[in-house]
């Protein structure tokens, strides 16, 4: 079984369903649109900010504010790519055609994350430039120190979120269960845990809290985060790795 055959097959699967187009479009539109809106509002509000807030004003990070909602569409994409197989019963047809389950899983993941990486990077750059346009005189330039890293990091962040969702969905199989856990977790629970002082020390090791550090260019005053931008992305990558290993082990052992 040549892996290239399976990759080509998974590409056909992913491009031939409507959910791919609408989840990814939604992620792009929401991330860019909300990023522009919040950038524009921040530019207007700048003169009313405290001295500290003005000093740690991070135009790059602000233009990525839409990511918090946009990532939810990426999660839906990641979940559907996998759980479409289970909810339709097609997984049996797929695994009868490709009985090497590792090849099957990793081809699917490779195709989906390749697609998300391209979409994520494009989104990230567009978000940055349009966001900066809204910020007017407070804008950052792509040549500024750390900005290019943050913008590329935005694309990587989206890719890792989708990968994590694919791993979780493979383990859970049901789309409803996967979305029911992932959506509230990334939209609410993680944010609460990462911002409430009692849980902050643990909360900031959660995948999205750690990973979003990559999009930060200006470190806030009195920030005591024990990792840097790449360290944060690395922590997120470890979460993704754990989810994918779990997915592989379960898929390998389970009856289809």
């Amino acid at each position: 079984m040549a892996a290239t055959q399976v990759v080509r097959s998974e590409w056909t699967k992913i491009r031939s369903v409507a959910s791919t187009v609408w989840t990814l479009s939604l992620a792009v539109v929401v991330t860019i649109g909300l990023g522009m809106l919040i950038s524009a509002l921040s530019a207007n509000d700048f003169k009313n900010m405290s001295r500290n807030d003005q000093l740690s004003f991070d135009p790059t990070y602000i233009s990525f504010a839409g990511m918090s909602l946009g990532q939810l569409a990426m999660i839906v994409f990641g979940v559907l790519v996998v759980s479409n197989e289970y909810s339709t019963g097609m997984i049996r047809t797929s695994l009868a055609a490709v009985p090497q389950r590792g090849t099957f899983l990793f081809s699917k993941i490779a195709v989906a994350s390749g697609l998300v990486l391209v979409v994520g990077l494009v989104t990230s750059f567009v978000t940055f430039f349009l966001g900066q346009a809204m910020l007017g005189s407070h804008k950052a330039s792509i040549g500024d120190s750390g900005v290019l890293r943050a913008v590329i990091g935005g694309g990587l962040y989206m890719t890792l979120i989708a990968l994590f969702s694919m791993g979780v969905a493979t383990m859970l199989r049901s789309p409803m269960l996967s979305l029911g856990i992932l959506m509230p977790f990334f939209f609410l629970i993680s944010n609460i845990l990462g911002n409430v002082s009692a849980t902050k020390k643990i909360g900031r090791f959660l995948p999205d809290q750690a990973g979003s550090k990559i999009m930060q260019v200006v470190t806030p005053i009195d920030d005591d985060t024990p990792y840097g931008p790449w360290g944060g992305l690395g922590i997120m990558a470890l979460w993704v790795l754990a989810a994918i290993v779990g997915a592989y082990v379960l898929l390998k052992r389970r009856d289809a």
């Binding site: 080509r8 056909t12 339709t88 009985p99």
Partner: protein, 323 residues
Amino acid sequence: MIELEGLTKRYGDKVAVDDLTFAVRPGIVTGFLGPNGAGKSTTMRMMLGLDRPTAGDVRIDGEHYDRLKDPLKYIGALLDAKAMHGGRSAFNHLLFLAQSNGIPKSRVSEVLDTVGLTSVAKKKAKGFSLGMGQRLGIAGALLGDPRILMFDEPVNGLDPEGIHWIRNLMKSLAGQGRTVFVSSHLMSEMALTADHLVVIGQGRLLADTSMADFIQQNSRSYVRIRTPHRERLLDVLHEAGVTVVESGSGALEVDGGEAERIGELAAQHQIVLHELSPQQASLEEAFMQLTAESVEYHAHSDGPSPVAPATPRQPWGDDWKRS
């Protein structure tokens, strides 16, 4: 050629497939028969490497399924007609299957034509009737031009024309020297297509025999009698040492071909007969008899705790009341 050896699948305490050993040979249609829940689908899933056997082994042309390179070129299977993404077109469904096994794209159009779905190739599968889904599943099985074909309940949901088509398809595939393995819970359907029969009940092998032998061994001949003087006839036959069974519809049945003797006995005692007809049990009855016996066997072997397992099988024994 598919070979099973001691194939067993347990789910906790429940044995779904119990020590199955048989071979499916090329060139003929082998029917895989058993009541609903007998373990047919589980067995087929194990053949395709989808479910792991608890014990035993199954080999496709001497190889384990997951060792086959491009398995669709060895064995094509229709498991579940609904197992496809509703938003994907028939063409793309077959295309991704073809690509995964290095089968040329031209083959997709060929099999769509074979199953008669060319006109709806670009339509989404969710608009398909069960019969069309069944045809698309069969197209997927034929895609790799495999030497072995496996169909799980293929006539489900097909209209009479479709049933006729699939029967002829299976026969012609076997006629080309391929191995054709088809499951059903309908004996009447198997009688029309299968050359060989493998019968299971509650996961156990009940018969592995040619269709002709199965008919000969399992069908019984008997004489059906109707009379307004039922009690008198019963007495007369009892005195003559003839065993009588009461059938469901109020008629009497006597095993064996003794119509002449019963007629003469009735005449001697001046008993009016409304019917005296030699009968041959249908294949359906033979099948029910066979599976009913497997139920009886299980009920006894379970001993003091004759709980759940026997009850859902009851309808299979109901029609066959023998004293």
